[in-house]
C-alpha cells in the first residue's frame, strides 16, 4: 500500500503537533481556571498522541499506536485524580481559580 506520509511528509505532522502542543502550553500559562489549565494539559497530551500515531505509521510499526493507548489510560487516571483534588478544593475554598491558591509561598 502506498504510504500517505510519503506525499505529505512527516515534518508537517511534527509541526502540526508541535503547534498543538504549544497551544496547550500557552493555555496552561495564560488561563487561570484550574479546569481549563487542566484541559490545556490534555491538549498537550493529545498533540503528542497524534504525533505518536504519525510516527508509528511513518515507521510502519505498531508500537507507537499501542503507546497511545497507554498514554490515554494514564491521562484518564490523571483526570480522575485531578478532578478529585479540584472537587475537594472547591469544597474548601468555593473557587477553582488558581490565583487564589497562594497560601503556600516564601
Amino acid at each position: 500500500m502506498n504510504n500517505i506520509l510519503n506525499e505529505i511528509g512527516i515534518e508537517n505532522y511534527i509541526f502540526l503537533s508541535t503547534i498543538l502542543f504549544c497551544i496547550g502550553v500557552f493555555g496552561v500559562l495564560y488561563r487561570r481556571n484550574a479546569i481549563i489549565v487542566f484541559m490545556s494539559i490534555e491538549i498537550m497530551l493529545n498533540a503528542v498522541n497524534l504525533l505518536f500515531v504519525a510516527f508509528s505509521t511513518y515507521h510502519q510499526d505498531a508500537q507507537g499506536q499501542i503507546f497511545v493507548f497507554f498514554s490515554m489510560a494514564v491521562a484518564a487516571a490523571e483526570v480522575a485524580v485531578g478532578l478529585a483534588i479540584l472537587v475537594s478544593i472547591f469544597r474548601n475554598l468555593g473557587s477553582i481559580d488558581i490565583n487564589n491558591l497562594k497560601n503556600l509561598k516564601g
Partner: protein, 456 residues
C-alpha cells in the same frame, strides 16, 4: 522482575485486608512482606536478566536501587502507623498507594522500554498527587495537591513529548535498540531534542532549578509523611532513573549538554541553600536543602562512566538522613498545625534522644565526617575532580559551607531555646525508625565500601 510482581501482589493484599477487616494487621504484614520482597530483590542482585522482550531489564543497578527504595518504603510504612492513627479507616488505602508507588519506582529503575519508563513515572506521580492532597479537609494539603498535580502533569506532558520525539527518531521504544542506533552516524535532530525534553521532565521531578518552584510549596502543604516520601523516595527515584536514562541513551554526553548540567547543578545548589537560609518552616528548609542536594546529585550525570556507585551512596546517605529527620519532625509536629521552628525549641531538653538524632541527620546532610553525608560529598568531589570539574567542586564546597548555616539554625533552636510545650508519649515506631535510619547512616559512613562497591 519477581520483585515487581511481588510488590504489586503485596499492594493488592493490603486492599484485601481492608475488605476482611484486618486493619490492625496491615502494617505489620506489609512490613514483613516488604522485608521478604527485599530478600527476593537481593537474590536477584547477581542474576541480571531481561523479561517480556526487554520491557523489564534487571541489572545490578536496578536491583541495588530497588533495594534502597524498598528499605525506604519500609521506613515510611512503619511511620504510617503513628501518622495515620486518627484515620484508621483509610489506612489500607494509604499503605496500598505507597506500595503501588513503590512498584512504580521499581519499574522506573528497571525499565527496558520507554513505555515501561513512562508507566512507572506516571504510577509514581499519580500516587504522589493523591498522597499530597490526601488530607482532604486542609486547604494547605489541597493547594499542595493541586500545585503538584498541575505542574506534574505538565511535566509528564513534556516527558511524553520527548519520548515521542525519540520514538520518531528511532522507530522503537526499546532502550537497547535506541542506544545501538544512537551510536550510528547521523540522527534526526529531534532525537537529542527528545532526550533533552525527557531530561527536563526528570529535572522537574528531582526539583532542580529552574524547575524547582513546586517543591517548597508542595513539601510544606502535603502531610508530613508524604513530604518525607517525596523528599526521599521520589527524589532518589527520579535521579536514579535519569541517570540510567542518560547512561543508556547516549553514553557520551555532548560538551554543550555538560555545560547545561553544570549550570543547573550549580544553580540548584546555590538557590536551594540561599533560599533555605531565611526559612522558618522546617519542612520548607528541608525542601530547599533537597533542592541543593539535587544539585549535588546532578553532578554524577557529568561522568556517568564511574559515578553509579557514588550516586547510590549519595542517595542512600541523603535518603536515610532524610527519613531520620522527618520521623523526628513527625513526632514533634504531630500536635501542631504547622512545622515552624518554634515547635523545636528546647527539644534537646524535653527529648534528648530525638534531638540528637535530628542533629545527627542534619550534620549528615551538612557533610560532617563519620556521617555518610560527608563521604557522599567526598566521593562526589573525588569523581568530579577526576573528571576535571574544579570550578563545580569549588562552588559545591562554598555551598556546603552556606548550608551549615541553616542546618545549625534548627540545631540551635533545639539546644539553646527554652522548651515551650510538654512532650509526652514515646511512640515506639517513630523511635525505632529514627534510630535505625541514623544508625544505618552512620554505618554507611564507617563502612562506605559496602555500598560503594556494589556498582563498581
Amino acid at each position: 522482575m519477581n520483585t515487581l510482581i511481588a510488590i504489586i501482589g503485596l499492594g493488592v493484599l493490603c486492599l484485601l485486608f481492608e475488605i476482611f477487616e484486618l486493619r490492625k494487621a496491615i502494617i505489620p504484614i506489609t512490613i514483613i512482606g516488604l522485608l521478604a520482597v527485599l530478600g527476593l530483590n537481593i537474590s536477584e542482585f547477581n542474576s541480571p536478566a531481561a523479561y517480556y522482550n526487554n520491557m523489564i531489564i534487571v541489572s545490578k543497578f536496578s536491583t541495588a536501587f530497588s533495594g534502597l527504595f524498598i528499605i525506604l518504603t519500609i521506613f515510611l510504612v512503619a511511620l504510617s502507623h503513628k501518622f495515620y492513627e486518627h484515620q484508621q479507616s483509610k489506612i489500607s488505602d494509604f499503605i496500598a498507594i505507597k506500595i503501588f508507588l513503590l512498584a512504580g519506582t521499581v519499574a522506573m529503575v528497571s525499565f527496558g522500554n520507554l513505555a515501561m519508563f513512562f508507566l512507572g513515572i506516571e504510577v509514581l506521580s499519580i500516587a504522589l498527587y493523591v498522597l499530597a492532597a490526601s488530607n482532604r479537609l486542609s486547604t494547605k494539603s489541597n493547594e499542595a495537591g493541586l500545585k503538584y498535580f498541575l505542574m506534574g502533569s505538565f511535566a509528564s506532558g513534556i516527558i511524553l513529548f520527548g519520548i515521542c520525539l525519540i520514538y520518531g527518531a528511532m522507530g522503537s521504544f526499546d532502550v537497547i535498540e535506541i542506544s545501538e542506533l544512537s551510536q550510528s552516524a547521523e540522527l534526526p535532530v529531534w532525537f537529542p531534542i527528545g532526550i533533552v525534553l525527557v531530561t527536563i521532565g526528570m529535572f522537574f521531578k528531582i526539583a532542580a532549578v529552574p524547575f524547582h518552584f513546586w517543591a517548597p510549596d508542595v513539601y510544606e502543604g502535603s502531610p508530613t509523611l508524604t513530604t518525607a516520601l517525596m523528599s526521599t523516595l521520589a527524589k532518589v527515584v527520579a535521579i536514579a532513573t535519569l541517570f540510567k536514562l542518560l547512561t543508556i541513551m547516549n553514553a557520551d554526553i555532548s560538551p554543550s549538554f555538560q555545560i547545561v548540567l553544570v549550570i543547573i547543578s550549580m544553580a540548584s545548589m546555590t538557590v536551594g541553600n540561599i533560599m533555605a537560609l531565611r526559612q522558618v518552616n522546617v519542612k520548607r528548609i528541608l525542601a530547599y536543602s533537597g533542592i541543593s542536594h539535587a544539585g549535588f546529585m546532578i553532578m554524577t550525570l557529568l561522568s556517568t562512566a564511574n559515578t553509579a556507585g557514588t550516586l547510590l551512596y549519595y542517595t542512600s546517605a541523603y535518603a536515610l538522613a532524610g527519613i531520620a529527620a522527618f520521623s523526628v519532625i513527625i513526632y514533634v509536629c504531630k500536635n501542631n498545625e504547622n512545622e515552624d521552628m518554634v515547635n523545636f525549641h528546647g527539644l534537646g531538653k524535653t527529648n534528648p534522644l530525638l534531638a540528637a538524632i535530628l542533629t545527627a541527620s542534619l550534620l549528615s546532610m551538612a557533610g560532617i565526617p563519620i556521617f555518610a553525608g560527608f563521604f557522599a560529598k567526598l566521593f562526589l568531589f573525588n569523581n568530579m575532580l577526576q573528571a576535571g570539574f574544579v570550578a563545580l567542586v569549588i562552588v559545591a564546597v562554598i555551598n556546603s559551607i552556606i548550608s551549615v548555616g541553616y542546618y545549625f539554625k534548627i540545631i540551635l533552636a533545639m539546644y539553646t531555646k527554652e522548651p515551650n510545650e510538654e512532650r509526652t508519649g514515646t511512640p515506639v515506631t517513630i523511635y525505632a525508625v529514627a534510630v535505625i535510619a541514623i544508625v544505618l547512616n552512620i554505618a554507611l559512613g564507617l563502612f562506605p565500601s559496602f555500598v560503594l562497591d556494589l556498582l563498581a
